[in-house]
Amino acid sequence: MRRTSLGELEELVLLIIGVIKDDAYGVNITQALERETGRTVDFSTVHTTLKRLEEKGFLRSVMSGATAERGGRRKRIFSITAYGYKALRESQEIRMRLWSLIPLKFKPSGV
């Protein structure tokens, strides 16, 4: 029973990874999320979300890029899979379609 739809945080994390593109890993994903959304994001939450997304097949990861400040430990670098892109796209399409159905008067100006 796999959930194929994306949760809100999952979607945000996926998008952030798309934005960072190369070298997306736990730390910079957490920091970017905090920066972009303006809310405090817990690392542990991000970590579990990443694992879940990988299990679902939206992400893949490789280990690389050990640095001194990490005590010589490698990073797990995440990148979006084709399936992940597809899911993001679908979710975006659903939103777009729904936006287009909202009556004009409610639409914020400029959209």
Partner: protein, 876 residues
């Protein structure tokens, strides 16, 4: 001031927490990420906040259900479980005969032990169902003389009331009458009549406290008043319905008792449960009965039972100590050589521990209960071993499955679960089948044991027991294949290099041997028990017990015995009529009341004294070894005595004929010496007997010898004569040989039960052997094929094939014989007269086991040997 480097290090304990709980595969990156973040936090929010965040994150990364092996635990359990069940059923169906043997063997064993445990439970519950069970005691009497102690339950009639009066710890006390005469220990059946309805029913006498002590439910009346008046009659529901149609109709009614007095129904009680060892349909007032039988008032007459109930705070040990010498005060002028002591036994113990040894309660029926519990456990073990053995043998076929499972990634634990679970599933099926079997055979089993047992479906404990049985059996049976198979190396198995190691084969052989040892033990025991029971049944007792009837002397028969004898003797089909004060087959009245010249006055010698008619010796077909029989027409013979050889030995006289003796003060001479005949059960040695001619005694039994094959006419004639002479009494009679047989009720039940159970044990063992040989035949298919091609004959193959099994059975025979001999020797010590433990019994048992097992194995051997070798060799 802290060192700068310390600032960069997050809290140690949080780090160790991470390392301890975090999944291995993501530990590295998590630790790294957190380290990086920590440094970032130190820069942005300060050390304290950074440390706090680090700890919080480390803790939040802990997931309670997120174990280190999170990968494997993510397997879907439900699907796996379904899969296991499906595989189990496929295996069941694929090897149908194996499964059938396996399940039915276990089911037989389980059913068998279930019945035995039911029986044992029922035995244990006898007399223990009373609410006050823990406070109820029986008083027993110990006689100590000549350094020996003998004990029984017979106490003086005034004892219970006096005990209650004198000992404050005793709350209630009652006497109970088990039989009227010590010399005629027969259940009490008395006649009651209402109008023209006459019934003879079983009953007794008891004192006022009786219903306050025992939990017999009163449907009408109160425990206090039920037995308080001389004319009180308490009857069972059965008796009330017999006479009046209903309990309500019986209330307060008058019933004619014994054709002579009227009694009033003062209470009606519910029919007694089958677990009451003393069964009665009515109870009457104690004092009235004692008043009617003056000799019962004496403290020196030990003829009734005494039951007491202690206060809840009383210490039974102290009470027993207190009453030990209670009788001393009441029995003046007793000989110094004879000490009489009282003892207490818990009321419920009498049924199972009713035998006395050295004046103390010892064993009794408990021997048989324990024995059969043992048998039940044996049979269960045999069945379990079977199950285990077959499962182990069959597991070879599953080796490839295990290999594949392991390659695909099953862990050892999963395999163990799977096999144990499968065994439990089979056990569950067997348990259900065994319940059905037990339920089906329960009526027959009840018949055999004379009980009314039911499967206790309403008791939660029963289900718990069955569940425990499933789990335990499943676990034991499944454990070996589970542990063994799960340890296999997949590479070897899948390449086909699979063999049972030597130890595994030895283990299986060991189980077979163990199983056959148990079967052999049962078989030998059965042979011995059956032979001993037959011996008891058919031994020449020294008298002829066939075609003899007992008719109680009561009512008009007491005064008109002579007339009855005369009339009855004329009836066609009747050879002879005589009387006796004791049942000749079970002379239980032994008393030190015989005097002769030269007797040591200090020694206690008990004689079985019986008063008989003139034709007793002829009627019983006794042999006279010395002197002559008493003669009705010889006047001096009314003071003539007959003694047996044992009596002569005990008296220690050379020439007994003509010797003057006195019995109960009656003077006379010995006219003849009888050859020893058995005076009681063969458990006991022959007692010294003194027969005394007294045709006028007001109690006893009439003996009627009928002509062989003319019983019907004799009975018809007897009934007519009896009805004429004794209209207030129902005509009832018993057969001497039947009564004799009843003495060995427990032995007979034991013999029948052991017969059935041994048969089952052997069948179960053979089922196991059959399964194993089927398995072996399959394993050896190729070998047999090659041998046949090379010219082996059927005989060769059979010998090769059966040899292994025969060796095992022979070994078990050798192992089983010594313990069997010991156990049976012990059992036979219970009998004063017993069979020899002849060597051929053991040989016979061995041959039976060997032949049966050989037959079982050879069916498979023949089948394997007759198969076309080409077929077996071609297939790969």
């Amino acid at each position: 001031m802290k060192h700068e480097r310390d600032l960069y290090a997050p809290p140690k304990w949080a780090q160790s927490l991470l390392r301890w709980r975090c999944p291995k595969e993501s530990l590295e990156e998590v630790e790294g990420d957190l380290q990086e973040l920590y440094l970032y936090w130190v820069d942005t929010v300060g050390v304290a906040e950074a440390r706090k965040r680090y700890v919080l994150n480390a803790i939040r990364l802990q997931r309670p259900f997120h174990s280190k092996n999170s990968r494997t635990s993510s397997i879907n359990h439900k699907d796996m479980f379904q899969h296991y069940i499906m595989v189990a059923f496929r295996n069941l169906v694929r090897s149908r005969s194996f499964s059938l043997i396996n399940i039915s063997g276990l089911a037989f064993g389980l059913a068998c032990s279930l019945l035995i445990f039911l029986w044992a439970r029922d035995e244990q519950s006898v007399d223990r169902f009373h609410t006050n069970n823990k406070l109820l005691y029986r008083v027993y009497l110990r006689q100590v003389y000549d350094g020996q102690a003998h004990a029984d339950y017979h106490t003086p009639a005034p004892l219970p009331a006096e005990l209650k009066k004198m000992i404050p710890e005793i709350e209630y006390a009652t006497g109970f009458v088990k039989f009227f005469r010590l010399s005629l220990q027969d259940d009490i059946y008395e006649s009651f009549s209402v109008d023209d309805k006459v019934y003879k029913l079983k009953g007794s006498r008891a004192e006022e406290d009786f219903f306050s002590m025992f939990s017999y439910k009163l449907l009408y009346g109160t425990p206090q008043t039920a037995l308080s008046r001389p004319e009180s009659l308490c009857m069972s529901r059965k008796m009330a319905e017999l006479f009046f149609g209903s309990v309500e109709a019986a209330v307060g009614k008058t019933v004619r008792f014994d054709g002579r007095t009227d009694v009033t129904v003062t209470a009606v009680f519910e029919n007694l449960p089958p677990q009451a060892s003393d069964q009665f349909d009515y109870l009457m007032n104690w004092d009235a009965w004692v008043a009617e039988n003056p000799f019962k008032q004496s403290w020196g007459h030990f003829g009734t039972l005494s039951f007491i109930q202690l206060r809840p705070d009383a210490d039974p040990v102290k009470v027993e100590e207190k009453i030990k010498d209670f009788l001393k005060t009441y029995l003046k002028g007793m000989s110094d050589n004879l000490r009489l002591e009282l003892g207490l036994q818990p009321f419920g113990d009498q049924y199972l521990y009713g035998d006395f040894e050295n004046g103390l309660p010892a064993g009794g029926r408990i021997l048989y209960v324990n024995l059969f519990m043992g048998v039940g456990i044996f049979i269960l073990l045999i069945a379990c071993i079977n199950f285990m053995n077959l499962a182990t043998a069959r597991s070879v076929k599953r080796a490839k499955e295990v290999g594949v499972r392991k390659v695909v990634g099953s862990s050892r634990l999963h395999l163990i679960y799977q096999f144990i679970g499968e065994a439990m599933l089979l056990t569950l099926m067997a348990v259900l089948l065994s319940l059905a079997l037990a339920a089906l055979s329960l009526p027959a089993f009840n018949d055999l044991t004379a009980k009314q047992m039911a499967i206790p479906l309403r008791e939660p404990l029963f289900y718990l027991f069955m569940l425990g049985l499933v789990l335990l059996t499943g676990f034991i049976a499944g454990s070996y294949p589970a542990l063994f198979l799960s340890s296999l190396q997949p590479v070897k198995v899948l390449k086909g290099h699979f063999r049972f190691s030597f130890s595994a084969a030895a283990f299986r052989k060991g189980l077979v041997v163990f199983q056959f040892v148990l079967s052999m033990l049962l078989l030998i025991s059965t042979l011995v028990v059956t032979r001993q029971t037959n011996y008891l049944q058919y031994k020449n007792l020294g008298y002829d017990r066939e075609n003899v009837l007992y008719i109680p002397i009561e009512g008009n028969l007491i005064t008109k015995y002579a007339l009855f004898r005369e009339e009855a003797s004329k009836i066609p089909g009747i050879k002879m009529v005589d009387r006796s004060s004791q049942f000749p087959h079970a002379m239980s009245f032994r008393v030190d009341a015989v005097q002769w010249p030269g007797r040591d006055p200090n020694k206690v010698i008990n004689f079985a004294v019986s008063s008989v008619g003139y034709d007793f010796v002829k009627l019983m077909n006794l042999d006279i070894v010395n002197g002559r029989d008493v003669d009705r027409y010889n006047r001096t013979d009314s003071v003539g005595f007959l003694v047996n050889e044992e009596a002569v030995r005990q008296m220690g006289v050379k020439d007994p004929i003509g010797m003057e003796i006195s019995v109960f003060g009656k003077q006379g001479r010995i006219v003849g010496v009888l050859k020893d005949y058995h005076t009681n059960t063969l458990h006991q040695a022959i007692d010294p007997v003194v027969l005394d001619v007294k045709e006028f005694l007001n109690f006893g039994t009439v003996l009627v010898r009928t002509e062989k094959g003319k019983l019907k006419e004799a009975l018809a004639g007897l009934e007519k004569v009896y009805k004429q002479m004794n209209p207030g009494h129902a005509f009832n009679f018993t057969f001497m040989d039947e009564q004799y047989g009843k003495l060995y009720k427990s032995e007979q039940v034991a013999s029948k039960l052991s017969y059935v159970f041994t048969l089952l044990a052997i069948v179960i063992s053979c089922l196991g052997l059959l399964g194993l040989s089927m398995f072996a035949a399959e394993q050896w298919k190729k070998e047999i094929g090659i041998r046949k091609i090379l010219g082996a004959t059927l005989r060769h193959i059979m010998a090769r094939f059966s040899g292994d099994f025969v060796r095992l059975v022979l070994l078990s025979i050798v192992i089983a014989v010594p313990p069997a001999w010991l156990a049976m020797n012990q059992w036979l010590q219970n009998f004063a007269y017993r069979i020899d433990l002849a060597w051929w019994i053991f040989v016979l048992a061995g041959i039976i086991a060997l032949v049966v097992s050989l037959l079982t194995v050879s069916t498979q051997a023949v089948k394997a040997a007759l198969e076309n070798p080409v077929k077996n060799l071609r297939s790969e």
